[in-house]
């Protein structure tokens, strides 16, 4: 009766919460991808909930179910191998990770302005998703070997390099969101591994200060560039309208001087973008502060998402009742902006239920981390929790207009194979640690 013992050894609360999230996600995906194109759809709104379920767009739901099926197998496989054995192969996994990420750069297909996918046969596969999980495993092994030797900045440097290499490779795709996930995981695991909290806080503070500093610097360079360009245009007009030859020459001198300044400012601005983020990336990251500044462009997604969530109100517009979703105002609503659909159709109640399920899941994850029989187990569980928490916060924050648009999916919820498999595998890792907790059942 291995099966029964095996089943009994699982964290049922965690599994139940995760299962409910996934079920919820299937309904949301089935609703999100349904586009209303004529009169007949509007009648669906008044049907019973159960009947409405029959009218969902099952094309995506079925595919997602297939991924879940695959993911469950991966999850089971990961649960089966004791995590210590996984960690023993950290070096090989780390190399595999790097190979995968480098392969994306050379073999990857471009989509939505980034190279994130590798096509294997009919499937497209997103290495950066799996990279997160591998990172957690390899870093846990890396850190547990350094337990108690993480108090000084010098001690942390190897850790940064260790995480930094894959992070930079992902940043290169470019996938800022995922690289930030790496940073979050790293800090979370360092904290659990015993690095001095003050030191970590200082580092995070410094990182934030650097980001703000970069942003201010960018604003300065950007504005200088734009202002001088405007001045040039004005001077050009004045030059054309100049009445006397002397005035024209005077303006010409001034023009040349401004032109020199402008060239310099423009060059600096360009080089800033060459070395850091591109202009459009900066815009995308900051537009959430004021989506109305660019409603036709970068701000469109955030704005429509805010309208969707806000218009949901307390109880929501009901399944298949979301006008923002079904009349296609919401962009990419079955993946990154799936939460907007939840907010619109299920309202504040639905959103809170989903948040509650996630909270249970994270709480159970932390519980597992505390019950782990060794530091490695704690770090694995902690890393997974950090990853989930960061994803949830940034994704929902993004749809609610308080986080930049970084394009990271909602775990166990957004449509997408790689992500779903990775999330289920991460759950497997949690259960793996749980099954082998202090109170050994085997």
């Amino acid at each position: 009766m291995v099966g029964k013992r095996f089943t009994r050894s699982l964290d049922h609360v965690l599994l139940l919460a995760a299962g409910m999230v996934v079920l919820f996600s299937l309904v949301a995906i089935g609703s999100a991808t349904l586009e209303f194109t004529d009169e007949s759809f509007s009648r669906l709104k008044n049907l019973f909930f159960a009947v409405k379920l029959l009218h969902l767009d099952y094309a995506y739901v079925v595919r997602q179910l297939a991924w879940i099926f695959v993911g469950l197998w991966v999850m089971a496989a990961i649960m089966y191998i004791p995590y210590e054995d996984l960690c023993k192969h950290a070096r090989e996994l780390y190399i595999l990770n790097l190979v995968m990420l480098i392969a994306v750069i050379f073999l990857g297909r471009e989509a939505l302005g980034a190279q994130r996918w590798i096509y294997i046969g009919p499937f497209n596969f997103q290495p950066s998703e799996f990279s997160k999980l591998i990172m957690i495993i390899t870093f846990a092994s890396f850190l547990s070997a350094r337990e108690g030797r993480l108090n000084r900045l010098r001690d942390l440097l190897p850790c940064f390099v260790y995480v930094g290499i894959p992070t930079l490779l992902i940043l290169k795709q470019p996938d800022l969101g995922t690289s930030l996930v790496f940073v979050a995981i790293m800090f979370g695991m360092l904290f659990l591994a015993g690095a001095r909290p003050g030191l970590l806080l200082a580092l995070i503070g410094a990182g934030l200060a650097l980001m703000v500093g970069l942003f201010v610097l960018h604003m300065y360079l950007h504005n200088a560039d734009v202002d001088l360009e405007k001045q040039l245009l004005v001077l050009e007009q004045q030059k054309k309208a100049a009445v006397s030859e002397t005035a024209r020459q005077e303006l010409q001198r001034k023009y040349q001087q401004v032109e020199r300044d402008y060239r310099e400012a423009h060059r600096r601005h360009e080089s800033f973008h060459r070395h850091t983020l591109k202009e459009y990336q900066v815009t995308r990251l900051t537009v959430f502060l004021d989506p109305q500044s660019d409603l036709l462009g970068a701000g469109y997604h955030v704005w429509q998402s805010l309208i969707a969530i806000g218009s949901g109100g307390f109880l929501g517009k009901g399944l298949l009742g979301g006008t923002q979703s079904h009349l296609t105002f919401l962009p990419i609503r079955h993946t990154d902006f799936i939460f907007s659909v939840v907010g619109e159709e299920f309202g504040f109640m639905g959103a809170v239920v989903l948040l509650g399920l996630y909270l249970v899941l994270l709480y159970r994850g932390l519980k597992i981390a505390s019950q782990a029989r060794d530091l490695q187990g704690t770090l694995l569980a902690g890393g997974v929790v950090c990853m989930f928490a960061f994803h949830i916060f940034v994704n929902i924050g993004m749809t609610a207009g308080i986080m930049p648009v970084t394009g990271i999916p909602l775990p166990l919820f957004s449509y997408g194979g790689s992500n779903m498999i990775m999330n289920l595998a991460a759950l497997g890792l949690l259960l793996n640690v749980y099954m082998r907790r202090k109170k050994i059942l085997f």
Binding site: E35, F36, T37, D38, E39, F41, S42, E147, G188, F191, L192, P197, L295, L296, G297, Y300, Q304, L306, I307, A308, I309, G310, S311, G312, G313, F314, T323, Q324, L327, T328, F329, P331, G343, G347, F348, A351, V352, L355, Y358, L359, L362, Y363, L366, A369, S370, A372, R373, D374, L375, T378, G382, V385, C386, A389, F393, I396, G397, A400, G401, I402
Partner: protein, 784 residues
Amino acid sequence: MATNGVTAKRLERKLQVLLGLVIAAFTVLFIRLAYLQLVEADKYQMMAQQNHLRLIPIIAPRGEIIDRNGVRIVGNQPVYTISFAYLGIKDTDRVIARLARILVGEKTFQGMSVAEIEQEIHKKLNEQKLRLYEPVPIADKVSSETVSRIEEQRLELPGVLIDVRPVRHYPYGDLLVPTLGYVGIMDQKELEENKDRGYRLGDSWGKDGLEKSFEPYLRGQRGARQVEVDAQGQPVRDLGVKEPVPGNNLVLTIDARLQRAAQDALARGIARLQKEGYSQARAGAAVVLDVRTGEVLALASHPTYDPTIFTRDLSRKEWNAAWAKISRDQSLLNRAIALYPPGSTFKMVVAAAALELGKITPQFAISDTGRYKYKVDWKPGGHGRVDVVRALKVSCDTFFWTVGAMLGPEPIARYAREFGLGQKTGLELPGEHAGRIPGPEQKYNLWKPLLDNVQKQMDDIRKEYEKRLAGAGEGEKAALEREMNGRLAPLQDRYNKMEWELKWREYDTLDMAIGQGNNYYTPLQLANYVAAIANGGILYKPYLVKKVVAPDGQTVEEFSPRQIRRVNVSSRTLAILRQGMHEATLPPDGTAAGVFAGATYSAAAKTGTAEVHGHDNHALFVAFAPYEKPEVALAVVVEYGGHGSSAAGSVAREILDAYFNLKNAPPTAGLSGAEEKTRDERATGALRSTPVPSRPAGGSGSGNVQPRRTTAPPGAPPGEQKQGGSPGQPAGGSPPGAGNEQGTPVDVLPPAGGGGSGAPSSSGDQPPAQGGAPGAPRDGTQVQ
């Protein structure tokens, strides 16, 4: 190590910190969601509605204008507008590129390349980026080929919307222009003044003519369609439609065939005059009235304009050219209600006054030697023995000078007024003139301001020199005084002449008696006065609109003949006038004998030749027929046409011939291409009469037709009186208006049934419009 209690405890603490962080993060999300979904839900719900609900106005077609026999003179035709709804970033560029390729060559984008059009569309889109939920108008009045190309590519053109709106359609070209008036977009001021009548920005309304005076009837009620649209602006479903209510149709007293004949006759007559060397003859008017009712059967003003310039989408250049032509021709001016000196057509008034007041008897006769005091008759040597009938027959000036001197100005003026001259007839058109009857007081009022002006100029000069003299040395004084006197002398001369003119003189009476001097009447008044003579003394109010009919055929309002008064002239006198006029058409020496040679009907007429200082004379002609049992009266004026009988008479003859020929002809005779289309149009007409709610209660009150012009300029400036006060003096040589643009298919509506109750229409429905300066087509014609 797991057994190490301290480590475990420390780990526990760390995990609690992490849990705390997670809870904090979730709290932030919770608060944010609560704010969005509970506090600001209303705001976002409204925005979501703006996103997906669209209220599309449906513009109601204006009422049609139909002649007395059911011929549609003004109808409506659809015009298509292309607008575009924002698609989100991804598709917009692609769709705009495709749309630009289709729109190449459209009027809105004339002369632009595909790339330029693309840029233009992007610009328009960007201008409206804060109201994304509203479609952005891209191109107006696109051709039907473009519309069908867009329809074909519907699937590749998400977000592209086609709107239809009706515009005025003129099946018979310039028929009844400018009496019809035209429709244009309200300007800011008009909108401001009429907001409470439910007009909105971008609405059209009648700007002149019948379109203006019957605006409350013609105008329909806007409908609306609420549709749910997706992000591409494609309608997903109709949430409800409020059908527009078309405006009511006007059924005119006008006979389209006779109108056509009158316009053509005028045009031909003027062309003939041009050939004969009367290069100044370019304009004219003709009015035909039914003497038994006062119905206006034809109201022609020449030259006309192409009414479609107000409905087509003209380029700036085309518009300027069209507008230059209109300004030169003054063709917006309805010459049938503009002022002209009547010339000898006035003589019946004088004859009536003399007979009625007993100054002469029917037997009274003079022996005309061709002279009266210092005046010389138009016929050298005179007409011999002339009684009143013969005086009218040969248009003997000497007789009327004699009689005029016996009467004096006041009795003549009284009888002019009796016949409705010098008063607005109350025709339903804006800009009708009252005219002017001369008299001592009127003359004084005319000259006094001019005199004062000269006086003031002289005073100014004196003041100027007083100052200069005060500051000048002894030697210079004499020179200055000479200079001043030199400047004053011509002014003093003018002053003396004008002072003479302040008083009514004998020659004024003589001029007045033969219709010269300061007599100014509209062709409409002349026709109506002749009608009163013809019908035995009933002065009818001429009217253009027989009834107002709802789109379903129900009569909304019916206008029946209305008498202004019974003219206080005995039937005996009227009979003498009729006889005189009839004899004028008889050989050998009737002034209009040539005109009516070979006519199949008996007529009565009077020619008129009004002297115009420094120009060829205005040619006038009034007539009624048949003499024995009068049916129609008419007045024809040809500006600078030379002589009444030859220039205006031939036009009148053609019109009268047409009237009698058309009596038994089909309703569209003479209107090209009429027969073929008649049946289809009847069919559509039947389809159209789906029940539509009739006008809301209270909307059909007679008070609805009100003069809209509140700021009418006063009559012609007195300074122009020497020039004969023609309605403006067109400058520069130009051919008479281009021929009638016919050849358009003919529309005929079935005569609207029902109604005919004969209920007396409420009185006072046509408050007289105020006069306006002739020759000054009103501004506010900014249709573009």
